[in-house]
Protein backbone atom coordinates (compact mmCIF):
# COMPACT_ATOMS: atom_id res chain seq x y z
CA UNK A 1 0.00 0.00 0.00
CA UNK A 2 1.28 3.42 -0.89
CA UNK A 3 2.02 5.64 2.07
CA UNK A 4 -0.15 8.72 2.15
CA UNK A 5 2.35 10.66 4.21
CA UNK A 6 5.10 12.39 2.27
CA UNK A 7 8.29 13.74 3.75
CA UNK A 8 10.55 16.17 1.99
CA UNK A 9 13.94 16.37 3.70
CA UNK A 10 16.54 17.87 1.42
CA UNK A 11 20.16 16.88 1.75
CA UNK A 12 22.16 19.26 3.93
CA UNK A 13 19.20 21.30 5.19
CA UNK A 14 18.05 21.71 8.77
CA UNK A 15 14.33 21.44 8.15
CA UNK A 16 11.79 19.03 6.75
CA UNK A 17 8.25 19.12 5.44
CA UNK A 18 5.64 16.48 6.21
CA UNK A 19 2.45 16.51 4.13
CA UNK A 20 -0.60 14.31 4.33
CA UNK A 21 -4.13 14.35 2.92
CA UNK A 22 -7.02 13.18 5.09
CA UNK A 23 -10.53 11.91 4.42
CA UNK A 24 -11.71 14.36 7.03
CA UNK A 25 -13.31 17.80 6.92
CA UNK A 26 -10.85 20.55 7.84
CA UNK A 27 -12.57 21.30 11.16
CA UNK A 28 -12.27 17.68 12.33
CA UNK A 29 -8.61 17.49 11.36
CA UNK A 30 -7.88 20.64 13.34
CA UNK A 31 -9.89 19.34 16.30
CA UNK A 32 -7.61 16.28 16.47
CA UNK A 33 -4.78 18.65 17.42
CA UNK A 34 -6.72 20.87 19.77
CA UNK A 35 -8.35 18.52 22.30
CA UNK A 36 -6.33 16.58 24.86
CA UNK A 37 -8.64 13.57 24.83
CA UNK A 38 -8.30 13.18 21.05
CA UNK A 39 -4.53 13.74 21.04
CA UNK A 40 -4.16 10.97 23.64
CA UNK A 41 -6.03 8.59 21.35
CA UNK A 42 -4.05 9.10 18.16
CA UNK A 43 -0.64 10.01 19.59
CA UNK A 44 -0.80 7.29 22.25
CA UNK A 45 0.63 9.75 24.78
CA UNK A 46 -0.70 11.11 28.03
CA UNK A 47 -1.45 14.82 27.88
CA UNK A 48 -0.10 16.43 31.06
CA UNK A 49 -0.77 19.97 29.97
CA UNK A 50 -2.33 21.65 26.96
CA UNK A 51 -2.91 25.39 26.93
CA UNK A 52 -4.05 25.51 23.35
CA UNK A 53 -3.74 29.25 22.72
CA UNK A 54 -1.30 32.00 21.82
CA UNK A 55 1.46 32.15 24.47
CA UNK A 56 0.30 28.79 25.83
CA UNK A 57 2.33 25.69 26.52
CA UNK A 58 2.05 21.92 26.31
CA UNK A 59 3.53 18.78 27.85
CA UNK A 60 2.93 15.15 26.90
CA UNK A 61 4.23 11.97 28.49
CA UNK A 62 5.00 8.68 26.75
CA UNK A 63 5.60 5.44 28.66
CA UNK A 64 7.51 2.48 27.26
CA UNK A 65 5.49 -0.74 26.74
CA UNK A 66 7.10 -2.38 29.81
CA UNK A 67 6.41 0.72 31.88
CA UNK A 68 10.07 1.16 32.83
CA UNK A 69 10.78 4.36 30.99
CA UNK A 70 8.93 7.59 30.73
CA UNK A 71 9.74 10.27 28.20
CA UNK A 72 8.32 13.74 28.55
CA UNK A 73 8.04 16.11 25.65
CA UNK A 74 6.83 19.65 25.64
CA UNK A 75 7.22 23.20 24.51
CA UNK A 76 5.58 26.56 24.01
CA UNK A 77 2.59 27.24 21.84
CA UNK A 78 3.54 30.35 19.97
CA UNK A 79 0.29 30.89 18.12
CA UNK A 80 -2.96 29.19 17.19
CA UNK A 81 -5.20 30.29 14.32
CA UNK A 82 -8.31 28.08 14.34
CA UNK A 83 -8.57 25.74 11.35
CA UNK A 84 -5.47 27.32 9.79
CA UNK A 85 -2.25 27.19 11.71
CA UNK A 86 -0.45 26.03 14.85
CA UNK A 87 3.04 27.28 15.65
CA UNK A 88 4.79 25.59 18.55
CA UNK A 89 8.16 24.42 19.82
CA UNK A 90 8.89 20.77 20.52
CA UNK A 91 11.49 19.35 22.85
CA UNK A 92 12.10 15.87 24.23
CA UNK A 93 13.08 16.49 27.81
CA UNK A 94 16.49 15.22 28.99
CA UNK A 95 17.65 14.27 25.51
CA UNK A 96 20.40 15.85 23.40
CA UNK A 97 18.08 16.44 20.44
CA UNK A 98 17.47 20.13 21.00
CA UNK A 99 14.41 22.21 20.28
CA UNK A 100 12.37 22.11 17.10
CA UNK A 101 10.13 24.81 15.70
CA UNK A 102 6.97 23.33 14.19
CA UNK A 103 4.71 25.27 11.87
CA UNK A 104 1.62 23.21 11.07
CA UNK A 105 -0.76 24.45 8.40
CA UNK A 106 -4.24 23.10 7.77
CA UNK A 107 -5.79 23.32 4.36
CA UNK A 108 -9.30 22.56 3.10
CA UNK A 109 -9.38 20.50 -0.10
CA UNK A 110 -13.09 19.66 -0.41
CA UNK A 111 -15.96 19.59 2.12
CA UNK A 112 -14.77 16.16 3.25
CA UNK A 113 -11.04 16.19 2.63
CA UNK A 114 -8.19 18.25 4.01
CA UNK A 115 -4.43 18.47 4.05
CA UNK A 116 -1.80 19.10 6.67
CA UNK A 117 1.64 20.64 6.02
CA UNK A 118 4.04 20.33 8.94
CA UNK A 119 7.21 22.35 8.57
CA UNK A 120 9.79 21.42 11.21
CA UNK A 121 12.97 23.42 11.68
CA UNK A 122 15.82 21.94 13.74
CA UNK A 123 18.73 23.68 15.42
CA UNK A 124 21.18 22.25 12.87
CA UNK A 125 21.48 19.87 9.93
CA UNK A 126 23.19 17.35 12.20
CA UNK A 127 20.38 17.49 14.71
CA UNK A 128 17.73 16.99 12.04
CA UNK A 129 19.52 13.92 10.74
CA UNK A 130 19.93 12.53 14.28
CA UNK A 131 16.20 12.92 14.94
CA UNK A 132 15.36 11.30 11.60
CA UNK A 133 17.40 8.28 12.61
CA UNK A 134 15.66 7.99 15.99
CA UNK A 135 12.91 5.54 15.03
CA UNK A 136 15.72 3.10 14.16
CA UNK A 137 17.74 3.50 17.28
CA UNK A 138 15.51 4.15 20.23
CA UNK A 139 12.18 3.28 21.74
CA UNK A 140 10.92 6.82 21.29
CA UNK A 141 8.23 5.59 19.01
CA UNK A 142 6.42 3.61 21.66
CA UNK A 143 3.00 4.82 20.62
CA UNK A 144 3.63 3.30 17.23
CA UNK A 145 4.87 0.05 18.76
CA UNK A 146 1.78 -0.17 20.95
CA UNK A 147 -0.39 0.40 17.94
CA UNK A 148 1.40 -2.39 16.12
CA UNK A 149 0.87 -4.67 19.13
CA UNK A 150 -2.85 -3.99 19.09
CA UNK A 151 -3.12 -4.49 15.35
CA UNK A 152 -1.12 -7.71 15.38
CA UNK A 153 -3.33 -9.13 18.13
CA UNK A 154 -6.35 -8.48 15.92
CA UNK A 155 -4.92 -10.61 13.11
Amino acid sequence: MELKTKINAEEGKQDLLITREFDLPLELLFKAFSEAELIEQWMGTKVLKLEFKKHGSWQFESTSPNGNMVVKMGGAIHDVIANQKIIRTFEMENTPYGVQLEITEFEKLTDNTSRINMHTIYESVKQRDEVLKLPFAQGINWAHNRLQDIVSKLK
Binding site: G12, L24, W42, K133, F136
Partner: protein, 108 residues
Protein backbone atom coordinates in the same frame (compact mmCIF):
# COMPACT_ATOMS: atom_id res chain seq x y z
CA UNK B 1 31.67 -2.27 9.58
CA UNK B 2 28.47 -0.29 9.78
CA UNK B 3 28.38 1.27 6.31
CA UNK B 4 25.16 3.12 6.94
CA UNK B 5 26.61 4.89 9.94
CA UNK B 6 29.72 5.76 8.00
CA UNK B 7 27.65 7.30 5.25
CA UNK B 8 26.00 9.61 7.75
CA UNK B 9 29.30 10.57 9.31
CA UNK B 10 30.53 11.33 5.83
CA UNK B 11 27.68 13.69 5.05
CA UNK B 12 27.78 15.35 8.47
CA UNK B 13 30.64 17.56 7.24
CA UNK B 14 29.63 20.66 5.24
CA UNK B 15 32.67 20.53 2.93
CA UNK B 16 31.94 16.92 2.06
CA UNK B 17 28.32 17.76 1.35
CA UNK B 18 29.48 20.59 -0.91
CA UNK B 19 31.81 18.17 -2.73
CA UNK B 20 28.92 15.74 -3.27
CA UNK B 21 26.75 18.51 -4.67
CA UNK B 22 29.55 19.67 -6.95
CA UNK B 23 30.32 16.22 -8.30
CA UNK B 24 26.62 15.34 -8.63
CA UNK B 25 26.36 17.58 -11.70
CA UNK B 26 29.55 16.45 -13.46
CA UNK B 27 32.59 14.18 -13.13
CA UNK B 28 35.57 16.16 -11.85
CA UNK B 29 39.24 15.63 -11.09
CA UNK B 30 40.58 16.18 -7.56
CA UNK B 31 42.25 19.39 -8.78
CA UNK B 32 39.03 20.75 -10.26
CA UNK B 33 37.15 19.94 -7.05
CA UNK B 34 39.85 21.57 -4.88
CA UNK B 35 39.77 24.74 -7.00
CA UNK B 36 36.20 25.31 -5.75
CA UNK B 37 37.28 25.52 -2.11
CA UNK B 38 39.51 27.83 -0.12
CA UNK B 39 40.52 24.79 1.93
CA UNK B 40 44.08 23.48 1.50
CA UNK B 41 44.45 20.83 -1.21
CA UNK B 42 45.48 18.02 1.21
CA UNK B 43 42.32 18.69 3.25
CA UNK B 44 40.17 18.30 0.13
CA UNK B 45 42.10 15.11 -0.71
CA UNK B 46 41.27 13.78 2.74
CA UNK B 47 37.57 14.54 2.22
CA UNK B 48 37.67 12.80 -1.17
CA UNK B 49 39.30 9.80 0.45
CA UNK B 50 36.55 9.55 3.11
CA UNK B 51 33.79 9.95 0.52
CA UNK B 52 35.39 7.29 -1.67
CA UNK B 53 35.91 4.88 1.25
CA UNK B 54 32.27 4.99 2.22
CA UNK B 55 31.42 4.62 -1.46
CA UNK B 56 29.57 7.87 -1.92
CA UNK B 57 32.12 8.76 -4.62
CA UNK B 58 33.60 6.55 -7.29
CA UNK B 59 36.91 7.02 -9.08
CA UNK B 60 37.13 6.61 -12.84
CA UNK B 61 40.42 6.56 -14.72
CA UNK B 62 40.39 8.60 -17.90
CA UNK B 63 43.87 8.61 -19.49
CA UNK B 64 46.21 10.05 -16.88
CA UNK B 65 43.43 11.75 -14.92
CA UNK B 66 41.24 10.31 -12.21
CA UNK B 67 37.69 11.63 -12.26
CA UNK B 68 35.30 11.50 -9.33
CA UNK B 69 31.61 10.73 -9.81
CA UNK B 70 28.80 10.15 -7.31
CA UNK B 71 27.59 6.66 -6.57
CA UNK B 72 23.85 6.88 -7.17
CA UNK B 73 23.07 3.68 -5.28
CA UNK B 74 24.80 4.85 -2.12
CA UNK B 75 23.26 8.29 -2.32
CA UNK B 76 19.90 6.56 -2.20
CA UNK B 77 20.82 5.04 1.18
CA UNK B 78 20.65 8.57 2.57
CA UNK B 79 17.07 8.87 1.31
CA UNK B 80 16.23 5.45 2.77
CA UNK B 81 16.86 6.44 6.38
CA UNK B 82 13.91 8.79 6.18
CA UNK B 83 11.63 5.85 5.44
CA UNK B 84 11.10 4.59 9.05
CA UNK B 85 10.43 8.19 10.13
CA UNK B 86 7.86 8.57 7.36
CA UNK B 87 6.29 5.24 8.30
CA UNK B 88 5.97 6.45 11.90
CA UNK B 89 4.09 9.58 10.83
CA UNK B 90 1.98 7.64 8.38
CA UNK B 91 0.88 5.26 11.17
CA UNK B 92 0.15 8.19 13.47
CA UNK B 93 -1.91 9.97 10.83
CA UNK B 94 -3.79 6.76 9.95
CA UNK B 95 -4.68 6.50 13.60
CA UNK B 96 -5.73 10.16 13.67
CA UNK B 97 -8.00 9.58 10.67
CA UNK B 98 -9.72 6.57 12.26
CA UNK B 99 -10.07 8.28 15.67
CA UNK B 100 -11.68 11.33 14.06
CA UNK B 101 -13.99 9.22 11.87
CA UNK B 102 -15.28 7.50 15.00
CA UNK B 103 -15.64 10.91 16.64
CA UNK B 104 -17.58 12.19 13.63
CA UNK B 105 -19.88 9.14 13.66
CA UNK B 106 -20.63 9.64 17.34
CA UNK B 107 -21.48 13.31 16.91
CA UNK B 108 -23.83 12.86 13.96
Amino acid sequence: MNLRRDVFQAIADPTRRAILLLVASQALTAGAIASNFDTARPTVSKHLQILTECELLEQKQNGREIYYTTNAKKMKAIADFIEPFRQMWDDRFNKLESVMKQYQAKKS
